[in-house]
Structures are given as C-alpha cells and as structure tokens.
Symmetry: C2
C-alpha cells in the first residue's frame, strides 16, 4: 500500500535539502566533523505579533531517536551520482549521538530567543536543519496563533475546525495538537483525537439537512441518534427560521428526554444573528441551549464579537488559525553558532547572527510574573545573570533545558497535557500589554555583558576570515 | 517505530471530522444512503488572483482505491461511545464504490468551476469531504501560487527552496510536487526528489563557509568535492567581497578543469548586488558563471527584479510559494448538489450553492486559445452548449472527465510529467491579461440556460423544505 498520502518512518530523515547532503559530503571529505553547536530562533515578527508559544520539540526529539538512513534512502542518494561510496557508507551508519537543549513545549518565548540548541558532530547537527525548522517552526507558528485566539475568546469554548483547510495532512495534525496545547478545548479532527487523545467536537453539516425533505425532520433524526451530542446547524436555508425550527424540535424532544445542547451559526452577521437567536431561544424557555459560532473566524473577529457583547458560548476556528493566515511562516533559522569550541558568526546584511551557545534567562517577580528576559551564554550562571537585571528579580529561570544526551532522551517526557499546563501557566504570568492583538508592547529581552563582549570580539575577527 | 512524524496508510481515511461520522451514523440509522453527488469548487479569491491550477486529484484517487477503516480505527470509534455496533460493523466493511469525475491535474480553472465531482452512496461520498478539501485544496493552492512565480520568472530557472518553511512534512511534499507541476525546474527537497523523481538542486549553506578558516578555503573545498555542482554562496560575511573571493577561486580552479557554475546571492538589495556581481565576474572573464538569487522572494519581487533588468539567471523561492502567503487557504467547498437523482441547494447568506451535477465547458479559438467557460449540467452535450457561446467557438472542451468508476481507476493514470505538460500547454493558451499579478481581468465564466433554469426551479422549492 505505497500510496502517496502517507509518510513512512524511513522517510522522516529525508526531510532535508540536497545541500545538506552535499555539505555533509564536503565536510566528510575534508575532515570537518568536530563538535558543532546549532541554535534555532525566530528572527523577527510583524509589529502585530508580540510572543511565540514554543511547540514541536517532542516530535523532533522522537524523530532524532530513530534517525537513520535506510537502504532505500542510500540507494536514492547513490542514484544521484554525486556521492562517493565511502560517504554513503558513512551515512548508512550515521545515528544521532549529540545533545539537545530545548525550551519546554508550551513556554511563551520571544523573537531572538533560542528555542532549540543541538550540540553534536558537525555532520549530524547540520543534517537536522530542515527537520527542525519544518517541524518546530510549524508547531510553534500554530501554537502562537492559537494562543491569540485563546486570549480573544475570554474563556469561551474554542474548537479547531481547520483540518479541511490546513496545508496538507501533517499540518492538520500539528494544528490540532498545537491549538489544544495553546488553550483550545478540542478539535473536530478524528485522526488528531485518535493520535493525541484530544477531545473531539462536531455535529452535522448542511448536507444532513439537505437530504431530508424538511429541516425539522433533519433535526429530529439527528437528535434521536445522538441525544447527548446535539448541536443543530441553523443556516442551511434561512438562519432565523432555522433557529425557530431548532427551537420547535428542541421543545418537542424535551418530552422524549432529549436535550438539544446548542444551535450553530455558520454564516452571516454573527453579532446580529446571535442576539436574535438568543432571543428566540429564550422566548421559548430554551435558556440552556447554547449558541456556537463558526465561519471564517479569527482572533480579531472573536474579540470584536465579544467586545460587542455577542451572546456566543463557543467558537469553531478553521482556516485562519490552522494556516496562521496573517503570518503563514515564521522567520525561523537554525544556525551554526559554535565549532570546535569557538563561537561562529554570520554577518550578511540584515541576517546577522549572535555567536556562541546560549541560554535564555527569565526574570520573575514575587508572584511569578515575567519581568523580562536576558539572552546570555550557556555557561553563564543564573546567579551572575540575576545581578544584571534591574530591578533585581525574585527569581531567574533558565528556559533551555537538556532534553537529549548522547542521542537519548533525558526523562521525563512531558505529555501533551503537561505542555498545555505549561502554556496556561505561562499565559497567566505574562502581562496583558504584551498579549495585545494589534500593537502589543515589546517584551524586554536584553543581552548579558558576556554575550555582548563575545559579539564584539567576533566582529573583530571576521574580516580576517573573508580575506 | 510508531513515531509521531509519520502517517500510516491506515490513518489516511481518518482525515475526517467527527461530524462526518456522526452524520454517517444518522444517515445509517434513518436509512439515507442512496446515490448522492458532491461537487468541489473554490468559491472566491481576492481580486489579485485570477486563476487556479488544478492539482492533488492523483493523491486523492490513490487514497480512494485503498479507502477502508482498519481495526485500530474501528476500536477508536468504539472508544468514543457514540456509535452502535451495527454502524461500526457497517463502517468496517465500507469501501469506496462510486464514480469520480475530475479536471486533469495541471489544467487552469477558475472560481465557481467544479474541479471534482463524487457520485456514490451518500455515506461514502460524505466521508470524503475533508480528505478532498485538505489534499486537493492544498495542492491546487500551491500550484496556483507557483504558476504566478513561473509567469514572473520569464523562463529563468526556478527552484523550490521551501521545505524548511512549509507547514509540516506533507505540505513540503505537496509544495515540491505542485510547484514542479506548475513550471518550476526542481526542488531542494530530497524526499520530494526521491518520491516524485523531481530534479534536485542545491549547494551549500553559510555554515559550510563558517567552519573554514577562510571563505576561499571553503569555496575551494566545496568545488573540489562537487566539480559539477558548484554554486558558491557569497553572503556569509560581505557579499561583494564574497563574489570577489568566489571569482578568484573560480579562476584558480579553471586550471584544475573545474568550472564554477554560479554564485548565489541570499540577502540584501538583489538588484544592486546582482549588477555589481555580474560586473565583478565579467571583469574577470567569468561570463559563464551564472547568478542565482534567493531570500524571501515571491512573484512580485521576481517580477520587479526582472523588469528592472537584474542580471539574475535563476531564483530559489521558499516561504512565500510553499505557504501561498498572500492566500494561505482556498475558500474551497465540497457540497451535496444532488441526492436520489434530485438537485439540492443550500442558500445561507453569501454561501449559496448551485444545484445539480455539473460540467465545465471551455470554448477555444482556432489556435486553441481560451475564449471563455460555461458552467452547465453534466448531462448537457458539448454540441448544445457550443451554441450558447458568442462568438461561436471553433471547439468546446468539457473539463471534467471520469477518472474512477465503481471504485476503480479509469486508465490512463497520468504521470507528474504529463500533468506538467497539461499545465504548460494550458498556460500558453491563457491570455496574459488573465494572468496579471495585481488586478488580472476577470476570465469569462457563464452559466448555461439549463443550469439557470434549474437554479430558479430549486429556489422556488426551498421555502417548503424549511417550513
């Protein structure tokens, strides 16, 4: 069953660019394979975006544990007629043997801050570039977007409705997981429910009504089959008449002991329709029937509806969230920052990198609220960095922790529920002014003196390298 | 090796929403499973977008051939405590037995035009909604975006550099395939090369230079390992000094019989840098060394560079193309249009559907150029529709063809190369004014008299259904 719409475990390590293989061959031939450190971070975001929610490292680490090129992969490399047999033999025996430090999934981070550092023999570390950017990039992108929806929804129910509009199958899975991690209540995607044990939500589509001779018959048939899962879609023909029909059926079914849970609005002016629907339902004594809304929603529309007092109890969010439509890709990079124990620096226009293996130090006040972060070198101590924060924080936490050593996971392996907990806590500790949807305040991220000194030293050395 | 970053063949049918299962259970219980026809089309696009390039049907059809719920899937459904044993038993024996009509991959189509019609027992057809929208939607989205780049590049080489920024693994594969289909010359993605036999391109990253003590040493080492694949990245430190170093190494290597093929610019003002780089190379007699550019490119930037006369011979395009950044999701729908032989219609605000199973009729002039399309009913004949075009076309072609009958593929199965050929021909037959990047002319799409008559008849019937 070699169908195209699948990804075999043996194909995961092939999520790389040709230049990773050619560089690896160059390194191999010229004897470059000492310890390197690569760092991954997001360079910048539009002014409307204030924060990131780290995600995707679990999958990445899982893939590293299994990382190897199988026979089919080696045969393909050979067919390219670019590589020598010694190199292919070397690739065949390659496993990931290095160390990975990463921010915990669910942690709120900011641009410039490393979310991942890989320390390994140069070739191993270099081959992971695309896998890291593709997977951690996408998961972080969606968790960050979903968190904005979470903030806008002010505690109302949020459900991922996006699988149909996600960019492929993997994107749909990542979006369901990342949005649940970032505060959503569940997803409509059955595969995501099965894989991640995420609560599933869903009811009916217009076609269910359309095959029936009348809307009321459709509602009644559905409710009798799913007496405990009855949300009635009211906009197949005319929305408010649909609500009236739903209300009539709900009253009728009460006699059979079936309680309709909600009506769902899926088009039109949701503010006006939700008010009128609430009135219709209340007039018929159906105060307990909730109103659920969907249809091209995003964080801005949810925010506007709730600010205007729309009586909506839950939202289904699709395309905008699962594609992060205002920012469909993060400007994330995975760069060499150290080789043979020496910091390395790239300085091309507007894409300069900070040298050296790093740590992100977060200052907290007495109630755990985030005061600001400091980017420093990985070997700096929390104690020494604490001195450089003004005012002095109650506590300083390093965000990057070792999650893999010598190619093996360092326990514990956090579950998705753990990651969701990390997010919810992180969210509650970040002041509202950094979470705005339009022009959030810039969260303070400084550089330690040691990092600044290294940067100056490196800049002085570069001209020599290019001579 | 049950790692999260993979998709097993048995998981493909689970790319559906919970409501598909609950509706199916409702249909099953209340005896609705007669023949239905579902149609998929894109409702609308922004004014900057004129056309679509159909793609993704091959994968979808492949998935249909294998469609069934395995034991693990049925166990999961059972665990949801929503479904009766008879229904689960029914699902276990379900296979796709219907007919699929689709537009050939690579064909240029427009909003409102069906790209896919599925005719099958209601439950089978309904369960495919998300799979169709997710897969055909994404592939069409990217092929359409890539075609815009193809138009802008005016025959220059185009390479997909986007795997690192694509929305997950599947998105990267789809993007590589769809962009190749829509005129790209190849991809950097190794897995896409292996899967689809797409030509691979790629050279080196900044890290290759950074581990060397000097830029020149890095260039020389790379060129000696890959004497036939030498594109030198010049912006690790200072771009123009990088070009000078590349030129010096190129002259030196000429004596060893190694020809440097290109330099690659990856940041900065590409117009200015490409001109200065060309001058440096030409002054040293390196007229044959090409200039390749990358770095946040999209169709607009490529167009502007070439209009300004930038001496660039090829482009690597990443994030913008692989995420279709100006339009990251298509407003595509998969709707019931017929049940039990009767046309069905949905008329909620702004989301109304046209009833009935359809055909897209395309009028061509004597040189095959597209004159306009007509949406009609599937049973209408080309001959009768031809009469309603003004002026009378030389030829009328129906775009939807039967690709699957009774659950089996109807030969031939077109290859990716075939699809690319269909696109290139389609592209050459569509006038430039419909292909503009900003505000293309609206391509004429009309409705046949028979379709209009059916719409009126249906509208008259709807109020009764909602009574």
């Amino acid at each position: 069953m070699a169908i195209d719409l699948r990804l075999d475990p043996g194909e995961v390590p092939l999520l790389l660019d040709l230049y990773h293989l050619t560089m690896a061959a160059g390194f191999f031939e010229h004897g470059f394979n000492d310890t390197a450190c690569f760092s991954m971070w997001v360079r910048r975001m539009p002014a409307s975006r204030g924060f990131l929610v780290a995600a995707g490292t679990e999958r990445f680490l899982e893939a590293l544990e299994e990382f190897h090129f199988d026979g089919a992969a080696l045969d393909y490399f050979d067919s390219l007629k670019l590589f020598k047999p010694e190199f292919l033999h070397f690739l065949g025996s390659l496993r990931f043997t290095g160390e990975v430090r990463a921010v915990r999934e669910g942690t709120i981070v900011f641009t410039e801050e490393p979310v991942l550092e890989v320390r390994a023999p140069l070739i191993e570390a270099q081959l992971l570039e695309t896998l890291a950017l593709n997977q951690i990039g996408m998961a972080t992108l969606i968790a960050s977007k979903a968190a904005r929806c979470y903030g806008a929804a002010r505690g109302r129910r949020l459900v991922d409705f996006g699988l149909r509009r996600s960019q492929g199958a993997d994107a749909g899975l990542i979006a369901a997981r990342s949005s649940y991690l970032a505060g959503f209540d569940g997803s409509a995607s059955v595969l995501a429910g099965k894989r991640y044990n995420i609560p599933l939500f869903g009811t009916m589509a217009h076609s269910f009504i359309m095959v029936h001779e009348s809307e009321r018959e459709g509602y009644a048939n559905f409710a009798r089959t799913f007496p405990h899962l009855t949300t009635l879609l009211v906009d197949t023909y005319d929305t408010l008449r649909g609500v009236e029909n739903a209300a009539a059926v709900a009253r009728e079914l009460e006699r059979e002991g079936i309680r309709v849970q909600a009506v769902r609005l899926d088009s039109g002016d949701l503010l006006d329709l939700s008010r009128k629907s609430r009135r219709i339902l209340d007039e018929r004594g159906l105060h307990a029937v909730a109103i659920f809304a969907s249809g091209n929603l995003d964080e801005h529309k949810i925010d506007a509806l709730l600010r205007a007092g729309a009586p909506i109890d839950g939202f289904g969010v699709g395309s905008a969230m699962v594609t992060s439509n205002d920012l469909p890709a993060l400007d994330a990079v995975y760069k060499l920052v150290e080789y043979q124990g020496k910091p390395r620096l790239k300085c091309s226009t507007e894409k300069a990198t900070l040298p050296g293996s790093k740590q992100v130090f977060r200052a907290l006040d007495s109630v755990g609220r985030f005061l600001g972060d400091m980017l420093g070198l990985s070997e700096e101590s929390v104690h020494s960095v604490a001195q450089s924060f003004r005012p002095a924080p109650v506590r300083v936490e390093p965000l990057l922790a070792t999650q893999m050593r010598e190619g093996r996971r360092v326990p514990p392996r956090p579950s998705l529920t753990d990651a969701r907990q990390v997010f919810l806590e992180s969210w509650s500790k970040l002041e509202q002014r950094f979470k705005g949807l339009q022009r959030p305040d810039a969260y303070p991220v400084g550089h330690t003196g040691a990092l600044k000194a290294m940067l100056i030293e490196q800049r002085l050395q570069v001209p020599g390298r290019q001579a």
